[in-house]
Symmetry: C2
DNA sequence: AAGTGGTCTAGACCACTCC
DNA sequence: GAGTGGTCTAGACCACTTA
Protein backbone atom coordinates (compact mmCIF):
# COMPACT_ATOMS: atom_id res chain seq x y z
CA UNK A 1 0.00 0.00 0.00
CA UNK A 2 1.02 3.61 0.32
CA UNK A 3 2.02 2.68 3.88
CA UNK A 4 5.64 3.28 3.05
CA UNK A 5 8.69 3.63 5.30
CA UNK A 6 8.12 1.42 8.33
CA UNK A 7 9.76 2.30 11.61
CA UNK A 8 13.07 0.51 12.13
CA UNK A 9 13.89 -1.30 15.34
CA UNK A 10 17.11 0.72 15.52
CA UNK A 11 15.20 3.98 15.67
CA UNK A 12 13.06 2.62 18.48
CA UNK A 13 16.17 1.45 20.33
CA UNK A 14 17.71 4.90 19.96
CA UNK A 15 14.58 6.62 21.17
CA UNK A 16 14.38 4.31 24.18
CA UNK A 17 18.01 5.02 25.04
CA UNK A 18 17.39 8.73 24.63
CA UNK A 19 14.49 8.64 27.08
CA UNK A 20 16.55 6.75 29.61
CA UNK A 21 19.48 9.13 29.35
CA UNK A 22 17.17 12.14 29.39
CA UNK A 23 15.65 10.79 32.62
CA UNK A 24 12.20 10.64 31.06
CA UNK A 25 12.35 7.06 32.24
CA UNK A 26 14.27 6.88 35.49
CA UNK A 27 16.31 4.02 36.94
CA UNK A 28 14.06 1.43 38.52
CA UNK A 29 10.99 2.76 36.80
CA UNK A 30 8.62 0.62 34.78
CA UNK A 31 8.39 1.62 31.14
CA UNK A 32 5.32 1.13 28.91
CA UNK A 33 4.40 -2.30 27.65
CA UNK A 34 5.47 -3.47 24.26
CA UNK A 35 1.92 -3.14 22.98
CA UNK A 36 1.68 0.49 24.09
CA UNK A 37 5.01 1.35 22.54
CA UNK A 38 3.99 -0.37 19.34
CA UNK A 39 0.91 1.84 19.21
CA UNK A 40 2.93 4.93 20.02
CA UNK A 41 5.55 4.26 17.37
CA UNK A 42 3.01 2.98 14.90
CA UNK A 43 4.65 -0.36 14.30
CA UNK A 44 4.20 -4.04 15.06
CA UNK A 45 4.88 -5.30 18.56
CA UNK A 46 7.52 -7.59 17.07
CA UNK A 47 9.53 -4.55 16.10
CA UNK A 48 9.32 -3.05 19.57
CA UNK A 49 10.31 -6.42 20.99
CA UNK A 50 13.40 -6.54 18.79
CA UNK A 51 14.44 -3.07 19.90
CA UNK A 52 13.88 -3.74 23.60
CA UNK A 53 15.67 -7.06 23.43
CA UNK A 54 18.68 -5.26 22.05
CA UNK A 55 18.56 -2.66 24.82
CA UNK A 56 18.15 -5.40 27.42
CA UNK A 57 21.22 -7.17 26.03
CA UNK A 58 23.20 -4.00 26.53
CA UNK A 59 22.23 -4.03 30.20
CA UNK A 60 20.26 -0.77 30.28
CA UNK A 61 16.86 -2.35 30.98
CA UNK A 62 15.64 -5.50 32.66
CA UNK A 63 12.70 -7.44 31.37
CA UNK A 64 10.59 -10.09 33.04
CA UNK A 65 7.38 -11.67 31.95
CA UNK A 66 4.37 -10.37 33.71
CA UNK A 67 6.56 -7.98 35.70
CA UNK A 68 7.24 -5.75 32.71
CA UNK A 69 10.30 -3.80 31.69
CA UNK A 70 12.32 -1.59 34.05
CA UNK A 71 15.19 0.76 33.57
CA UNK A 72 18.18 -0.91 35.24
CA UNK A 73 19.09 0.57 38.61
CA UNK A 74 22.79 0.24 37.97
CA UNK A 75 23.35 0.62 34.27
CA UNK A 76 26.13 -1.89 33.80
CA UNK A 77 28.32 -1.30 30.82
CA UNK A 78 29.03 -4.36 28.75
CA UNK A 79 32.07 -4.66 26.59
CA UNK A 80 32.67 -7.47 24.14
CA UNK A 81 36.13 -8.95 24.19
CA UNK A 82 37.38 -10.82 21.18
CA UNK A 83 39.72 -13.65 22.03
CA UNK A 84 41.45 -14.92 18.94
CA UNK A 85 43.92 -17.76 18.86
CA UNK A 86 47.33 -16.31 19.73
CA UNK A 87 48.77 -17.21 16.35
CA UNK A 88 46.05 -15.26 14.56
CA UNK A 89 46.42 -12.29 16.85
CA UNK A 90 50.16 -12.10 16.16
CA UNK A 91 49.88 -12.68 12.43
CA UNK A 92 47.25 -9.98 12.20
CA UNK A 93 49.87 -7.56 13.43
CA UNK A 94 52.08 -8.67 10.58
CA UNK A 95 54.50 -10.56 12.81
CA UNK A 96 55.80 -14.07 12.40
CA UNK A 97 54.33 -16.47 14.92
CA UNK A 98 56.26 -19.24 16.57
CA UNK A 99 55.62 -21.78 19.29
CA UNK A 100 58.08 -23.85 21.28
CA UNK A 101 56.95 -26.68 23.47
CA UNK A 102 58.98 -26.54 26.65
CA UNK A 103 57.65 -29.49 28.58
CA UNK A 104 55.08 -32.21 28.36
CA UNK A 105 54.26 -34.70 31.05
CA UNK A 106 51.46 -36.47 32.86
CA UNK A 107 51.55 -35.04 36.36
CA UNK A 108 49.50 -34.78 39.48
CA UNK A 109 47.92 -31.34 39.47
CA UNK A 110 48.71 -28.83 42.21
CA UNK A 111 45.85 -27.84 44.54
CA UNK A 112 45.02 -24.64 42.61
CA UNK A 113 44.43 -26.55 39.39
CA UNK A 114 42.46 -29.25 41.22
CA UNK A 115 40.16 -26.59 42.59
CA UNK A 116 39.68 -24.81 39.30
CA UNK A 117 39.14 -27.95 37.31
CA UNK A 118 37.31 -29.93 39.95
CA UNK A 119 39.83 -32.68 39.45
CA UNK A 120 40.94 -35.34 41.91
CA UNK A 121 44.40 -34.62 43.36
CA UNK A 122 45.49 -38.22 42.78
CA UNK A 123 44.57 -38.32 39.10
CA UNK A 124 47.33 -37.25 36.72
CA UNK A 125 46.59 -34.65 34.06
CA UNK A 126 48.52 -33.76 30.95
CA UNK A 127 50.73 -30.80 31.80
CA UNK A 128 52.16 -28.67 28.99
CA UNK A 129 54.28 -25.57 28.98
CA UNK A 130 55.39 -23.64 25.97
CA UNK A 131 56.43 -20.28 24.65
CA UNK A 132 54.60 -18.25 22.01
CA UNK A 133 56.83 -15.90 20.05
CA UNK A 134 56.26 -12.97 17.71
CA UNK A 135 59.05 -12.28 15.23
CA UNK A 136 61.23 -14.46 17.43
CA UNK A 137 60.60 -12.38 20.53
CA UNK A 138 58.90 -13.99 23.52
CA UNK A 139 55.24 -13.11 23.53
CA UNK A 140 53.56 -15.30 26.10
CA UNK A 141 54.33 -18.24 28.31
CA UNK A 142 51.66 -20.91 28.34
CA UNK A 143 51.09 -23.26 31.25
CA UNK A 144 48.31 -25.68 30.53
CA UNK A 145 46.62 -28.65 32.17
CA UNK A 146 44.44 -30.95 30.12
CA UNK A 147 42.00 -33.52 31.46
CA UNK A 148 43.03 -36.48 29.35
CA UNK A 149 40.07 -38.57 30.43
CA UNK A 150 37.78 -35.90 28.95
CA UNK A 151 39.99 -35.36 25.90
CA UNK A 152 41.70 -38.69 25.13
CA UNK A 153 42.94 -37.43 21.75
CA UNK A 154 45.15 -34.90 23.51
CA UNK A 155 47.42 -37.71 24.66
CA UNK A 156 48.36 -38.43 21.03
CA UNK A 157 48.46 -34.87 19.72
CA UNK A 158 51.73 -33.44 18.51
CA UNK A 159 52.01 -30.08 20.21
CA UNK A 160 55.35 -29.23 18.64
CA UNK A 161 53.83 -28.35 15.25
CA UNK A 162 50.61 -26.83 16.55
CA UNK A 163 50.24 -25.10 19.90
CA UNK A 164 47.90 -26.62 22.48
CA UNK A 165 46.03 -23.33 22.28
CA UNK A 166 45.19 -23.85 18.65
CA UNK A 167 44.82 -27.60 18.78
CA UNK A 168 42.17 -27.31 21.43
CA UNK A 169 40.27 -24.59 19.63
CA UNK A 170 40.17 -26.74 16.51
CA UNK A 171 39.44 -30.05 18.14
CA UNK A 172 37.59 -29.55 21.37
CA UNK A 173 34.23 -27.86 21.49
CA UNK A 174 33.26 -26.45 24.82
CA UNK A 175 30.09 -24.99 26.15
CA UNK A 176 31.46 -22.55 28.65
CA UNK A 177 34.37 -21.35 30.66
CA UNK A 178 35.89 -18.77 32.93
CA UNK A 179 38.32 -16.03 32.04
CA UNK A 180 40.34 -13.99 34.49
CA UNK A 181 42.74 -11.09 33.98
CA UNK A 182 45.30 -10.05 36.52
CA UNK A 183 48.77 -8.65 37.02
CA UNK A 184 51.66 -10.66 38.37
CA UNK A 185 55.33 -10.10 39.16
CA UNK A 186 57.62 -12.18 36.97
CA UNK A 187 59.12 -15.19 38.72
CA UNK A 188 62.71 -16.18 38.02
CA UNK A 189 61.65 -18.80 35.51
CA UNK A 190 59.15 -16.55 33.78
CA UNK A 191 61.70 -13.78 33.55
CA UNK A 192 64.17 -16.14 31.89
CA UNK A 193 61.65 -17.42 29.38
CA UNK A 194 60.23 -14.01 28.56
CA UNK A 195 63.61 -12.28 28.68
CA UNK A 196 62.61 -9.69 31.19
CA UNK A 197 63.65 -8.78 34.72
CA UNK A 198 62.43 -10.86 37.67
CA UNK A 199 59.67 -9.01 39.48
CA UNK A 200 58.61 -7.11 36.39
CA UNK A 201 54.86 -6.51 36.11
CA UNK A 202 53.30 -8.95 33.68
CA UNK A 203 49.80 -9.30 32.35
CA UNK A 204 48.22 -12.68 33.04
CA UNK A 205 45.12 -14.39 31.72
CA UNK A 206 43.72 -17.61 33.11
CA UNK A 207 41.07 -19.58 31.34
CA UNK A 208 39.19 -22.76 32.12
CA UNK A 209 36.73 -24.46 29.85
CA UNK A 210 34.22 -27.19 30.46
CA UNK A 211 31.75 -29.27 28.53
CA UNK A 212 28.82 -31.26 29.85
CA UNK A 213 29.83 -30.47 33.40
CA UNK A 214 33.36 -31.80 32.93
CA UNK A 215 36.37 -29.58 33.07
CA UNK A 216 38.44 -29.86 29.92
CA UNK A 217 41.46 -27.66 30.29
CA UNK A 218 42.89 -24.85 32.32
CA UNK A 219 45.50 -22.50 30.98
CA UNK A 220 47.54 -19.64 32.31
CA UNK A 221 49.13 -17.24 29.88
CA UNK A 222 51.82 -14.89 31.15
CA UNK A 223 52.52 -12.17 28.61
CA UNK A 224 55.76 -10.37 27.94
CA UNK A 225 56.02 -6.86 29.42
CA UNK A 226 53.93 -4.20 27.76
CA UNK A 227 51.13 -6.48 26.67
CA UNK A 228 47.73 -4.82 26.51
CA UNK A 229 44.26 -6.12 25.93
CA UNK A 230 42.08 -3.72 24.06
CA UNK A 231 38.38 -3.52 23.35
CA UNK A 232 35.70 -1.06 22.37
CA UNK A 233 32.64 -0.12 24.31
CA UNK B 1 -4.33 -27.08 13.73
CA UNK B 2 -2.72 -30.23 14.99
CA UNK B 3 0.55 -28.62 13.86
CA UNK B 4 1.79 -28.53 17.42
CA UNK B 5 5.29 -27.98 18.85
CA UNK B 6 7.08 -25.54 16.58
CA UNK B 7 10.86 -25.70 16.27
CA UNK B 8 12.63 -23.25 18.56
CA UNK B 9 15.36 -20.97 17.32
CA UNK B 10 17.57 -22.25 20.13
CA UNK B 11 17.38 -25.81 18.83
CA UNK B 12 18.36 -24.61 15.37
CA UNK B 13 21.26 -22.64 16.84
CA UNK B 14 22.43 -25.73 18.70
CA UNK B 15 22.19 -27.90 15.63
CA UNK B 16 24.12 -25.35 13.58
CA UNK B 17 26.85 -25.23 16.22
CA UNK B 18 26.94 -29.01 16.33
CA UNK B 19 27.47 -29.24 12.59
CA UNK B 20 30.26 -26.70 12.73
CA UNK B 21 32.02 -28.47 15.57
CA UNK B 22 31.48 -31.86 13.95
CA UNK B 23 33.13 -30.47 10.78
CA UNK B 24 30.02 -31.19 8.74
CA UNK B 25 30.36 -27.54 7.83
CA UNK B 26 34.04 -26.63 7.66
CA UNK B 27 35.71 -23.29 8.26
CA UNK B 28 35.37 -21.01 5.25
CA UNK B 29 32.62 -23.13 3.77
CA UNK B 30 29.27 -21.75 2.65
CA UNK B 31 26.32 -23.19 4.53
CA UNK B 32 22.79 -23.58 3.11
CA UNK B 33 20.57 -20.54 2.65
CA UNK B 34 18.06 -19.57 5.24
CA UNK B 35 15.24 -20.74 3.01
CA UNK B 36 16.75 -24.19 2.61
CA UNK B 37 17.36 -24.55 6.31
CA UNK B 38 13.81 -23.43 7.00
CA UNK B 39 12.56 -26.20 4.75
CA UNK B 40 14.89 -28.72 6.34
CA UNK B 41 13.89 -27.85 9.87
CA UNK B 42 10.26 -27.37 8.93
CA UNK B 43 9.95 -23.86 10.27
CA UNK B 44 9.63 -20.28 9.08
CA UNK B 45 12.62 -18.52 7.63
CA UNK B 46 12.30 -15.93 10.38
CA UNK B 47 13.12 -18.60 12.92
CA UNK B 48 16.22 -19.72 11.04
CA UNK B 49 17.23 -16.08 10.74
CA UNK B 50 16.96 -15.59 14.47
CA UNK B 51 19.11 -18.63 15.12
CA UNK B 52 21.78 -17.71 12.59
CA UNK B 53 21.91 -14.11 13.80
CA UNK B 54 22.66 -15.42 17.26
CA UNK B 55 25.43 -17.67 15.96
CA UNK B 56 26.85 -14.80 13.91
CA UNK B 57 26.90 -12.61 17.03
CA UNK B 58 28.99 -15.24 18.76
CA UNK B 59 31.55 -15.01 15.96
CA UNK B 60 31.24 -18.56 14.64
CA UNK B 61 29.76 -17.64 11.26
CA UNK B 62 29.91 -14.62 8.98
CA UNK B 63 26.94 -13.45 7.00
CA UNK B 64 26.69 -11.12 4.04
CA UNK B 65 23.80 -10.34 1.80
CA UNK B 66 24.00 -12.02 -1.52
CA UNK B 67 27.25 -13.71 -0.52
CA UNK B 68 25.56 -16.05 1.91
CA UNK B 69 26.68 -17.44 5.24
CA UNK B 70 30.12 -18.94 5.87
CA UNK B 71 31.68 -20.71 8.80
CA UNK B 72 34.28 -18.30 10.18
CA UNK B 73 37.86 -19.17 9.28
CA UNK B 74 39.17 -18.19 12.69
CA UNK B 75 36.43 -18.85 15.19
CA UNK B 76 36.99 -15.88 17.46
CA UNK B 77 35.74 -16.36 20.96
CA UNK B 78 33.76 -13.47 22.34
CA UNK B 79 33.42 -12.81 26.00
CA UNK B 80 31.14 -10.22 27.51
CA UNK B 81 32.66 -8.11 30.24
CA UNK B 82 30.42 -6.37 32.70
CA UNK B 83 31.78 -3.08 33.88
CA UNK B 84 29.82 -1.82 36.86
CA UNK B 85 30.46 1.44 38.65
CA UNK B 86 33.21 0.78 41.19
CA UNK B 87 30.93 1.60 44.12
CA UNK B 88 28.42 -1.02 43.02
CA UNK B 89 31.12 -3.61 42.44
CA UNK B 90 32.46 -3.13 45.93
CA UNK B 91 29.08 -3.02 47.62
CA UNK B 92 28.08 -6.21 45.84
CA UNK B 93 30.92 -7.90 47.66
CA UNK B 94 29.44 -6.69 50.90
CA UNK B 95 32.16 -4.14 51.53
CA UNK B 96 31.82 -0.49 52.45
CA UNK B 97 32.69 1.81 49.58
CA UNK B 98 34.54 5.06 50.01
CA UNK B 99 35.99 7.70 47.75
CA UNK B 100 38.52 10.40 48.52
CA UNK B 101 39.22 13.19 46.08
CA UNK B 102 42.97 13.77 46.11
CA UNK B 103 43.34 16.58 43.63
CA UNK B 104 41.33 18.71 41.29
CA UNK B 105 42.68 21.26 38.88
CA UNK B 106 42.42 22.62 35.37
CA UNK B 107 45.66 21.62 33.73
CA UNK B 108 47.30 21.31 30.38
CA UNK B 109 47.16 17.63 29.44
CA UNK B 110 50.32 15.61 28.91
CA UNK B 111 51.01 14.33 25.40
CA UNK B 112 49.61 10.86 26.10
CA UNK B 113 46.24 12.26 27.10
CA UNK B 114 46.23 14.69 24.17
CA UNK B 115 46.73 11.78 21.82
CA UNK B 116 44.05 9.61 23.38
CA UNK B 117 41.49 12.37 23.63
CA UNK B 118 42.40 14.21 20.46
CA UNK B 119 42.73 17.33 22.52
CA UNK B 120 44.86 20.40 21.83
CA UNK B 121 47.98 20.53 24.04
CA UNK B 122 47.33 24.21 24.86
CA UNK B 123 43.76 23.73 26.05
CA UNK B 124 43.39 22.98 29.75
CA UNK B 125 41.30 20.03 30.86
CA UNK B 126 39.83 19.20 34.23
CA UNK B 127 42.24 16.84 35.95
CA UNK B 128 41.04 14.77 38.91
CA UNK B 129 42.71 12.17 41.03
CA UNK B 130 41.11 10.17 43.79
CA UNK B 131 41.19 6.95 45.74
CA UNK B 132 38.45 4.35 45.85
CA UNK B 133 38.39 2.30 49.02
CA UNK B 134 36.71 -0.93 50.12
CA UNK B 135 36.20 -1.32 53.85
CA UNK B 136 38.70 1.47 54.27
CA UNK B 137 41.40 -0.37 52.32
CA UNK B 138 42.73 1.19 49.11
CA UNK B 139 41.03 -0.38 46.14
CA UNK B 140 41.91 1.70 43.11
CA UNK B 141 43.58 4.94 42.25
CA UNK B 142 41.73 7.02 39.69
CA UNK B 143 43.42 9.49 37.40
CA UNK B 144 40.95 11.26 35.17
CA UNK B 145 40.88 13.98 32.56
CA UNK B 146 37.60 15.58 31.56
CA UNK B 147 36.99 17.72 28.51
CA UNK B 148 35.16 20.61 30.18
CA UNK B 149 34.16 22.16 26.89
CA UNK B 150 32.28 18.97 26.05
CA UNK B 151 30.95 18.57 29.62
CA UNK B 152 30.54 22.07 31.08
CA UNK B 153 28.57 20.75 34.06
CA UNK B 154 31.66 18.88 35.27
CA UNK B 155 33.24 22.19 36.25
CA UNK B 156 30.53 22.70 38.88
CA UNK B 157 30.17 19.11 40.06
CA UNK B 158 31.11 18.22 43.61
CA UNK B 159 33.33 15.19 43.31
CA UNK B 160 33.87 14.85 47.03
CA UNK B 161 30.44 13.34 47.67
CA UNK B 162 30.19 11.36 44.46
CA UNK B 163 33.13 9.94 42.56
CA UNK B 164 33.79 11.25 39.05
CA UNK B 165 33.32 7.66 37.95
CA UNK B 166 29.75 7.60 39.13
CA UNK B 167 28.93 11.23 38.34
CA UNK B 168 29.85 10.68 34.71
CA UNK B 169 27.90 7.46 34.41
CA UNK B 170 24.82 9.20 35.76
CA UNK B 171 25.16 12.48 33.91
CA UNK B 172 27.01 11.96 30.69
CA UNK B 173 25.73 9.65 28.00
CA UNK B 174 28.32 8.43 25.57
CA UNK B 175 28.10 6.54 22.36
CA UNK B 176 31.38 4.68 22.45
CA UNK B 177 34.78 4.30 23.94
CA UNK B 178 37.95 2.32 24.30
CA UNK B 179 38.99 0.06 27.10
CA UNK B 180 42.45 -1.29 27.71
CA UNK B 181 43.82 -3.69 30.31
CA UNK B 182 47.45 -3.93 31.20
CA UNK B 183 49.91 -4.56 34.00
CA UNK B 184 52.13 -1.90 35.47
CA UNK B 185 54.77 -1.65 38.17
CA UNK B 186 53.70 0.60 41.05
CA UNK B 187 55.34 4.01 41.03
CA UNK B 188 56.40 5.63 44.31
CA UNK B 189 53.22 7.69 44.46
CA UNK B 190 50.96 4.82 43.55
CA UNK B 191 52.61 2.59 46.12
CA UNK B 192 52.02 5.21 48.81
CA UNK B 193 48.36 5.69 47.91
CA UNK B 194 47.62 2.00 47.52
CA UNK B 195 49.79 1.01 50.49
CA UNK B 196 51.89 -1.46 48.59
CA UNK B 197 55.55 -1.78 47.68
CA UNK B 198 56.98 0.30 44.86
CA UNK B 199 57.47 -1.83 41.78
CA UNK B 200 54.71 -4.21 42.75
CA UNK B 201 52.68 -5.57 39.83
CA UNK B 202 49.36 -3.75 39.55
CA UNK B 203 46.39 -4.23 37.30
CA UNK B 204 45.51 -1.18 35.23
CA UNK B 205 42.49 -0.25 33.14
CA UNK B 206 42.32 2.75 30.87
CA UNK B 207 39.11 3.97 29.38
CA UNK B 208 38.19 6.77 27.03
CA UNK B 209 34.70 7.70 26.00
CA UNK B 210 33.39 9.92 23.26
CA UNK B 211 30.12 11.27 21.99
CA UNK B 212 29.36 12.78 18.60
CA UNK B 213 33.00 12.57 17.64
CA UNK B 214 34.15 14.52 20.69
CA UNK B 215 36.22 12.97 23.38
CA UNK B 216 34.60 13.31 26.77
CA UNK B 217 36.86 11.80 29.36
CA UNK B 218 39.83 9.56 29.77
CA UNK B 219 40.49 7.64 32.95
CA UNK B 220 43.21 5.40 34.26
CA UNK B 221 42.45 3.11 37.17
CA UNK B 222 45.34 1.48 38.99
CA UNK B 223 44.10 -1.30 41.25
CA UNK B 224 45.53 -2.49 44.51
CA UNK B 225 47.59 -5.71 44.34
CA UNK B 226 45.65 -8.90 43.75
CA UNK B 227 42.86 -7.34 41.74
CA UNK B 228 41.33 -9.63 39.17
CA UNK B 229 38.80 -9.11 36.42
CA UNK B 230 36.62 -12.09 35.85
CA UNK B 231 34.16 -13.07 33.17
CA UNK B 232 32.47 -16.11 31.72
CA UNK B 233 32.74 -17.44 28.22
C1' DA C 1 -6.32 -15.73 37.18
C1' DA C 2 -4.49 -12.53 34.40
C1' DG C 3 -1.01 -9.65 32.41
C1' DT C 4 3.40 -9.35 30.21
C1' DG C 5 7.22 -10.68 27.53
C1' DG C 6 8.97 -14.62 24.30
C1' DT C 7 8.47 -16.78 20.21
C1' DC C 8 6.61 -18.69 15.83
C1' DT C 9 4.33 -18.10 11.33
C1' DA C 10 3.54 -16.81 6.46
C1' DG C 11 4.19 -13.44 3.60
C1' DA C 12 6.19 -9.35 1.85
C1' DC C 13 9.47 -5.90 0.51
C1' DC C 14 13.98 -3.97 0.87
C1' DA C 15 19.23 -3.50 0.83
C1' DC C 16 23.21 -5.01 -0.38
C1' DT C 17 26.48 -7.24 -3.17
C1' DC C 18 28.35 -10.25 -6.47
C1' DC C 19 28.26 -11.65 -11.17
C1' DG D 1 20.18 -8.37 -12.84
C1' DA D 2 19.49 -11.64 -9.55
C1' DG D 3 20.22 -13.94 -5.25
C1' DT D 4 20.84 -13.63 -0.33
C1' DG D 5 20.29 -11.85 4.16
C1' DG D 6 17.70 -8.00 6.91
C1' DT D 7 13.59 -6.44 8.50
C1' DC D 8 8.59 -5.46 9.11
C1' DT D 9 3.78 -6.98 9.69
C1' DA D 10 -0.44 -8.95 11.80
C1' DG D 11 -1.85 -12.42 14.25
C1' DA D 12 -1.45 -16.20 17.31
C1' DC D 13 -0.16 -19.04 21.16
C1' DC D 14 2.81 -19.97 24.95
C1' DA D 15 5.63 -19.38 29.34
C1' DC D 16 6.39 -17.27 33.16
C1' DT D 17 5.40 -14.52 37.10
C1' DT D 18 3.00 -11.94 40.21
C1' DA D 19 -1.20 -10.36 42.37
Amino acid sequence: MTESSAISWQSIRDEVLRRIRAREWRPGQLIPHEADLATEFGCARTTVNRALREVADSGMIERRRRAGTRVALHPVRRATLEIPVLRVEIERRGQAYGFTLLSRAAELPPPGICARMGSAPDRPLLHLTGLHTADGQPHALEDRWIATDAIPAAAQADFTTISPNEWLVLNVPFEGGDLTFSAHAASEGEARALRCAPGEALFVTERSTFQAGRSLTSVRLVFAPGHRVHTRL
